[in-house]
């Protein structure tokens, strides 16, 4: 798990730097959300559906990649349950190309950053990305779960939404329908307290968002989203329930606001210094690394080695994607209609 927290962090740091250098026009950073996304994706398996937003790079990297295949020297045991047929550097390169709108990206330049989908059912990847309208993918994710149920499969669908997206009609309709139809669906709210500039107190009037679960007749769980072990436990429990046919779970994971809405806007300035410091201290990566050191599960040298190889891999991959061919108008991805 630690490897993917670090890998996701380096991924975002690289793109944040490219924004500052003017090489990338826009970036929505996941820094601070990795504790939720990496832990959640660790709790799912090949063949489960992942439905992500724009701060979920941790879940995507965790779901696509096998650490053992990337770095056999560091991780000799190759996981058998992950996307075992996928060549990790190849798919990471495609992901970087997707972020940059390149021809080799999953959408071949038709769609921006995390708005793509990737299906490789043979390898167990069913990944549906977002549209810009927040909340809209919740019913779609519930529909993927419905398909699993109709097929008689025990696979589940895991979907992320921000606390702002919970104010949409689709949040209500999707979650209510998932509950009524009892489909294997887990909705994880990444509550960082702000939707663009709007604070949570102007978004909803209830004490928590988890308490909405009771209103839909499903479990609603609130968890510290910076505590990766706790997030993993709760998501794993929800996944087990869903696999047993016991229906959806709503999980509210409270995370810090370590970055603004997007890199380059000034929405982070809305937070006063004390609040920003509090959010910085909640950093899930730093917290997990401290706990690994405290219990003696890792040495500082090990953590430094992992950080170095993650940074090198990301820089190398993203730099190489920067040089990848741009799409041309003739680039095929099918027409308006499927044949």
């Amino acid at each position: 798990m630690h490897f993917f927290l670090r890998l996701a962090r380096e991924w975002d740091l690289r793109f944040e730097r490219l924004v500052r250098l003017g090489a990338v026009s826009k970036w929505y950073s996941s820094v601070g959300n990795e504790g939720v996304t990496v832990a959640a994706a660790t709790a799912i398996e090949a063949g489960d559906a992942l439905i992500s937003l724009h701060r979920d790079s941790g879940a995507i990297l965790r779901h696509y990649l096998d650490a053992g295949r990337l770095f056999p020297d560091l991780f000799p045991a190759v996981s058998q349950r992950r996307a075992s047929q996928v060549e990790p550097r190849g798919i990471l390169y495609r992901l970087a190309c997707q972020m940059l709108g390149k021809a080799n990206g999953f959408s071949a330049g038709r769609e921006r950053s995390y708005h793509y989908s990737h299906f490789d059912e043979g390898a167990g990847i069913i990944h549906v990305g977002m549209i810009s309208h927040l909340g809209a993918m919740i019913p779609v994710a519930a529909g993927l779960a419905l398909a699993f149920k109709q097929r008689g499969s025990d696979r589940v669908a895991v979907n992320f939404v921000g606390e702002g997206g919970t104010s949409t009609g689709d949040f209500h309709e999707g979650l209510n329908m998932a509950a009524v139809l009892r489909v294997p669906f887990i909705l994880i709210i990444e509550n960082n307290g702000y939707a663009f500039s709007t604070p949570a107190r102007e978004q909803y009037a209830s004490q928590t968002l988890a308490e909405r679960g009771a209103a839909y007749g499903i479990p609603g769980v609130r968890v510290d989203g910076c505590d990766v072990v706790r997030v993993h436990e709760e998501v794993a429990r929800a996944v087990s329930r869903a696999r047993r046919g016991e229906g959806p779970t709503l999980i509210e994971a409270v995370v810090g606001r370590m970055r603004g809405h997007s890199e380059g806007d000034d929405s982070i300035q809305l937070l006063d210094a004390a609040e920003r410091q509090r959010h910085e201290r909640s950093d899930p990566l730093a917290r997990f690394e401290r706990s690994l050191l405290e219990v003696g599960a890792a040495t500082q040298k090990y953590l430094d080695d992992i950080a170095k190889c993650c940074a090198e891999l990301i820089v190398e991959t993203v730099d190489s994607a920067m040089k990848a061919p741009d799409p041309v108008p003739e680039t095929p991805l099918g027409g308006i209609y499927a044949e």
Binding site: A49, P139, L146, A147, D170, G334
Partner: protein, 334 residues
Amino acid sequence: MPSETVVTKEISYLDAITRALRDELQDDPSVFVMGQDIAEYGGAFKATRGFLAEFGPHRMVNTPISESGTIGMAVGAAMLGRRPVVEMQFADFISCGFNQVVNVAAKMFWRTGRPVPMVIRCPTGGGAGAGAFHSQCVEAWFLHTPGLKVVAPAWPSDAYALLRAAIRDPNPVLFFEHKHLYRRVKQSAESFEAARREAVIGSARIVRSGEDVTVIAYGWMTHTSLEAAEVVSRDGISVEVVDLRSLAPMDEGLILESIRRTGRAVIVHEACFTGGFGGEIAARIGEKAFEFLDGPIRRIAYPDHPVPYHRGLEAASIPSVERIADVIRDLRRW
């Protein structure tokens, strides 16, 4: 053909829809139906009466009153190879699921390469004194959105064939079935069997051949236009009626071919005038067959106001046989 409406052993437009749904549910285990009151109750118009017992609750999914949620779930299920057929209780209510239709379903294949094989059945149109929210013809909202297929049959045989084709199509298809035709339009078993093989999405049909004027219509208005053609034939005017059947993709070739022969075009629809599909058809005729025209392209449509409740008020607004006949006579003078 008009004669198809007056026969003995008959299949109604609604029967044809029921039959198409049943045949697809029987033929393909990935097909299922979603909608409000569609299971035990059999649907607001009873199109799926008895289906729950026949196909079970996994194939007949009753939903809460959640058009957006239902259409969105259908998209998700379709992305995994299921073939959902969503029933809107009335076409009017699809506005509650608008974003799922135009931004999620319509764009999914283009954005991701993943097909979305789903159908949304939309009981459409007026004539029943049902007021502003149970009578609208909203197809134009969706014709402005690339990625959707839109069909609007006028005959039982077309309703049957196009619904089956829609369910088998790998794209989202909006199926506008006209409520006014459900029980009024019937075909003999023989003509139904003969005609149902011929309809494919994207093809129009000449339902009356003529030489002087082409009337282009769909849905209920196909029937009204045929009556008007019969009326003006007594004045010696020979009218060709093109039943569009499919609005997206539309059979531009057949429309232009007919106009090149007759030199006069009248477009009739029950939807509102401004921004209606008639404008698009008129523009294409103007661009591609201008040199063949003997007179102005004429559009007959619903006035630009909501549908009133009172039957008399409503009837005054729906394009009538007389109104169409008057326009044809007027255009013939050119």
